[in-house]
């Protein structure tokens, strides 16, 4: 079972990101589960969301305490104690922003950076990094085709907004090394 934890701030579409990823997986015939852990319900407050993807029914309902991967929608959260807690050995982080060697050395695990907020501003005119990061995550792990994400988005958006998101997804997926985390993702599925 692949377990992913998403960290972000209220208003960044953290829950939507988790739901999109799980929806894409279910649409591809996989088992998946996504749910949020809300703190205070307000913009800007740290929010955590969880995704599980597996090949057999997922029965557990507990929070993801030992994720295989972390997706961080606001790089400032990497400085918050506890955000990287429980990350499995061999695990990795996908974060919004530009490379920061200092924090990488502090965290002691591989980080892939994607300027997701900037990409979203370019393509959507809004600072919502979620779809770009999900696209990059699929490209890095190869767990689902990036087109599955576009299809899942089609269930929520249409017209111009869907097309803009599609271009954003393609751009984001192309900016990270495809398949870099394929082995780790495959091992987690076992």
């Amino acid at each position: 079972m692949l377990e992913i934890r998403i960290h972000g701030r209220g208003g960044q579409g953290n829950v939507m990101a988790a739901y999109l990823l799980a929806s894409a997986a279910i649409d591809q015939g996989r088992q998946a589960q996504a749910f949020p852990s809300f703190g205070a319900e307000r913009r800007g407050a740290p929010v955590t969301a969880f995704v599980r993807i597996a090949d057999r029914p997922i029965r557990r309902r507990c929070q993801v305490q030992q994720p295989d991967f972390l997706i961080v929608q606001d790089a400032a959260l990497l400085h918050v104690p506890g955000v990287t807690a429980g990350l499995k050995p061999g695990g990795a982080i996908l974060s919004d922003g530009v490379a920061d060697a200092g924090i990488e050395a502090q965290l002691g695990c591989p980080v892939v950076w994607l300027p997701a907020t900037r990409l979203a501003l370019e393509h959507l005119g809004k600072p919502v990094p979620n779809t770009a990061l999900m696209a990059a995550f699929l490209s890095l792990t190869g767990i689902l085709p990036v087109t599955a994400l576009i299809k899942a988005l089609g269930g929520r958006f249409k017209g111009d907004l869907l097309e803009r998101n599609q271009r954003l997804i393609e751009a984001a997926a192309a900016q990270v090394p495809a398949g870099l985390w394929q082995e780790a993702a495959h091992a987690a599925r076992a």
Partner: protein, 388 residues
Amino acid sequence: MRLALEGSQALARAVALCRPQVVAAYPITPQTHIVENIAKLVADGRLDCDFVSVESEHSAASVALGAACAGSRAYTASSSQGILLMSEVLYDIAGLRVPMVMTCANRAVSAPLSIWNDHQDAMALRDSGWIQLYCADNQEAIDTTIQAFRLAESLELPVMVCVDGFALTHTLEGLELPSQEAVDAFLPPYRFSRALDSTQPLSIGTLVSPDHFTEARASHHHALLQGLSQIVALDAAWQQITGRACGGLVEVRGEPEAKIGILTLGSVLGTLEDAMETYAEVPRARLIKLRAFRPFPAEALRQACAGLDTLIVFERAFSPGGGGIVATEVKAALYGQAMPRVVSFAAGLGGRDIPLDAYPRLIEAAAEDGGDFRFFDLKPDQLPEGGF
């Protein structure tokens, strides 16, 4: 076909499949998405129903009661403080023997204020005379909601479907929604035998003197007890149509021959099932899922507990100054036969996560001598200095 749906969204669709004529609701976390989605189905013209937005939960229950008395299939949903604000009307609905269905998106009760999940809200309504069914997962929540309408209408009693807030209401997963034809075949159009009719005026809810009150209450009790066989029968009938059952009154999972048992209500069951695989070195337990809390299935529980040395009752609520609510009832049901040692735990209060490793820690804690009632995962460092 499995659809990727948030629990609340799936519940709204399940309610719509039951063709309610009146839905009255007031939003409260974590129930909000359910009624929001029903309102959207009505606004989009996909559900022909009067959606009544009211100014409080007391009014939501009152509107649903009035609609049901007039012969409509009625529905409402709430959580926590909302359930408590409804409570006066909920007793009326039950006592008047008016069928309807309500989803309780289970949430802790204030104070301290918590928006997160436990079962204190539904447990506070234990004695209201509503049927209470608890759902272990979102598929059960869909299937139980549909069964609940037929159950309510066949017994002329209201049914509360208890669905864990967030753990189920806000979890997106792959779910089967039955077809409209399947639901129509299971749930015939509603006809209330005592529907108000202006051509044949009838008063309901009038004063009942001591000459009749006991008999009215005894009849209510008897009707709930009749529900025991009806809950089982309807779950079996639903299985005939869909191939899925929800476990009747009480379902035994895990290791049926185990001498140690864990009784739970709601969504923690799946976590314990997974945990037994993860912690294969820990002895496997008999998992007892209590689906029906009212009516209380004493006989089914006795059968489910037969041969146990230890029974852990792991519940998401308690009675302050008393102890485990379900545990107390379970002990009463088992009294008079070869009884296991019953250890009662309050767990997952106010949304505290029950992680996978709760399973080995629970088995270990139950073996220790720590009193009949305990709080699971109590953090001593968060208590006042010097403890209690």
